[in-house]
């Protein structure tokens, strides 16, 4: 064993004295990245490579199965996608879905704003928010659809109802927890400038809590998009002007499997675009730029 710890001494070493040299001429302290390095640093480029790989695998497996009723190949799907896009059928359905989604999403956010305002201004409001969120957050929005149909009938009303439910709790919860984790110093700095009431919330709390708010918006969007497609699948059966979900359901009934896949692709693409273009660019311009999120 080593000697007892109490007796241990750091080893004696000679001192080191150095002159620091002027390294500004070295050029290695800061070096521009090569074109390839920069390309691979783009998350978009890396992701595109993965997507191309997946498409290739699909095409090969589709050809191997050779049954376009069960699994059409990638190119068959692309062809179907082109067909339904050109005929205007798919864009129509997408627009219908997006219109309903926008209404539901905006209404959900507006209600979340009201609820969080109540929660930050009164203790009862805070209790109300946490109780309601605890109750409704675990409830899948789609489970409310039967009830919504009973109350609002077939149509946009029911869809908006379930959309609000899917957006509201995620956004309210995240915004509220964002507000309550704004550092005390930042609050005092804001008050010190003479800000109070609504201007204080708008100009200090909201930007300071923006990372959480954005997370809430992202989660809310993801919930809303899935819920909408699922709801349309259920309801499209008896509604005439269906959205994207109804399109998928319809095409399955007509055994146009390639078009079913085309519809699914559209769901994915829209989801991806919103998540990785819209939200990502908001992130890049705000929280990342401000160093509030990596």
């Amino acid at each position: 064993m080593a000697e007892p710890i109490a007796k241990r001494e750091p080893p004696l070493r000679p001192e080191i004295l150095r002159q620091t040299r002027d390294v500004s001429g070295l050029g290695a302290v800061e070096r521009p990245l090569t074109a390839a390095e920069r390309l691979m640093n783009q998350a978009g480029v890396r992701r595109s490579l993965i997507l191309i790989g997946l498409a290739a695998a699909w095409q090969l497996y589709g050809q191997y199965v050779g049954n376009n009723l069960i699994l059409p190949t990638f190119f068959e799907v692309l062809e179907a996608l082109w067909e339904v896009s050109r005929s205007g059928e798919l864009p129509d359905r997408v627009l219908t879905s997006l219109r309903v989604l926008t209404i539901g999403y905006t209404a959900g956010i507006a209600l979340a704003a009201v609820l969080t305002t109540l929660a930050v201004s009164t203790r009862l409001g805070a209790d109300l928010l946490s109780t309601l969120t605890a109750m409704f957050n675990p409830l899948p929005a789609i489970a409310l659809l039967p009830l919504a149909l009973l109350w609002f009938g077939l149509g946009v009303g029911s869809l908006v109802f379930v959309l609000i439910h899917s957006v509201l709790w995620a956004v309210a919860l995240n915004t509220h927890s964002g507000f309550s984790s704004v550092p005390e110093t930042l609050r005092m700095a804001g008050q010190n400038m003479g800000l109070r009431g609504i201007p204080f919330v708008a100009r200090i709390l909201v930007p300071a809590a923006f990372p959480s708010i954005l997370t809430g918006l992202k989660i809310g969007w993801a919930f809303a998009w899935r819920t909408l497609i699922a709801a349309e699948l259920v309801f499209g059966v008896s509604s005439r002007s269906g959205g994207l979900g109804w399109f998928i359901f319809e095409k399955r009934n007509q055994l146009e499997t390639a078009s079913v896949f085309a519809g699914l692709l559209a769901v994915i693409v829209i989801g991806l675009v919103v998540e990785s273009v819209v939200f990502r660019s908001i992130e890049r311009r705000t929280v990342r730029r401000w160093g509030m999120q990596r």
Binding site: T185, M188, A189, N192, G194, P207, F210, T286, G291, M292
Partner: protein, 266 residues
């Protein structure tokens, strides 16, 4: 000294308390002092004696349970831009605004200046704290000392009646602290603002202050109010500086021995 000048800030018999769920903590007890225009008034005392609390009282974040705080004869009721505060923490800047915008923001909020005028004023102040090169940078890209300088610039650009500084240099390394103390004194030399400065370092108190309020430990009471004259960096090794430091040290230390003695016998 101009004894005839009316005090800018009057603190009279101020008792400040914190109410927590279980306790009632008295942070300061019946504190009196006056701050006159162009004073560099230092609150000095051991940790926990209520210096920050007193500053929060003056800033209007806490209302005294007893006594009054008045600025220019008007009682302090709420926080306001006439008493700009530099906090002890680095995270007092708004992370979503650049250095320049951080300085402009309160100017516009308080209606001190608008648009181009506000920008020019901000730029001039940022230049005074030596950060002109970093105007377009966001706070997360600055070092701790630079953030502090921005906070000082932000407060100073407002030209408040009184500048409140809560241990602004405490978290800095010794070298940077020295530099910042000198910068502050140079700025004061130029602009002659009034500042209420909190510290727990005797050396810093003598260097920065023109008058020092010595506070006793918990709950904070006034122990003494001393003149610190005009000691600069040059005089730090002089016997006068050492004598004053010794005097202050003895007062703080005597207090501690006394209170420990009391506690021991009680």
């Amino acid at each position: 000294m101009d004894q005839a000048s009316a005090p800018l800030l009057e603190v009279r018999g101020v008792t400040l308390q914190y109410k927590t769920d279980q306790h009632l903590v008295t942070a300061t007890w019946r504190v009196d002092f006056d701050v006159h225009p162009a004073d560099r008034f230092v609150l000095l005392g051991p940790s926990g004696c209520g210096k920050s609390t007193l500053l929060k009282g003056v800033a209007g974040f806490m209302a005294p349970v007893e006594g009054t705080i008045a600025l220019k004869g008007r009682p302090v009721e709420r926080p306001g831009p006439d008493r700009m505060m530099v906090f002890q923490e680095f995270d007092q800047l708004l992370p979503w605004k650049t250095v320049e915008d951080n300085v402009v923001f309160p100017l516009e909020i308080a209606g001190r200046a608008k648009g181009l005028e506000a920008r020019e004023r901000a730029r001039a102040t940022i230049a005074k704290v030596g950060l002109s090169k970093f105007r377009e940078v966001y706070p997360h890209m600055l070092s701790g000392g630079m953030k502090m300088r921005v906070a000082i610039a932000r407060a100073m650009a407002m030209e408040p009646d009184i500048l409140l500084m809560d241990e602004p240099f405490a978290a800095l390394d010794a070298l940077t602290r020295r530099k910042m103390q000198e910068e502050l004194l140079a700025l004061w030399d130029e602009l002659r603002f009034t500042v209420l400065f909190v510290t727990h370092s005797i050396e810093e108190a003598i260097l920065v202050g023109s008058r020092i309020l010595l506070m006793s430990p918990h709950p904070g009471q006034v122990r003494a109010e001393l003149n610190a004259g005009t000691f600069g960096r040059g005089q730090i090794d002089t016997p006068e500086f050492a004598a004053l430091a010794r005097r202050i040290h003895d007062m703080l230390f005597a207090e501690r021995i006394e209170s420990e003695g009391r506690a021991g016998h009680g």
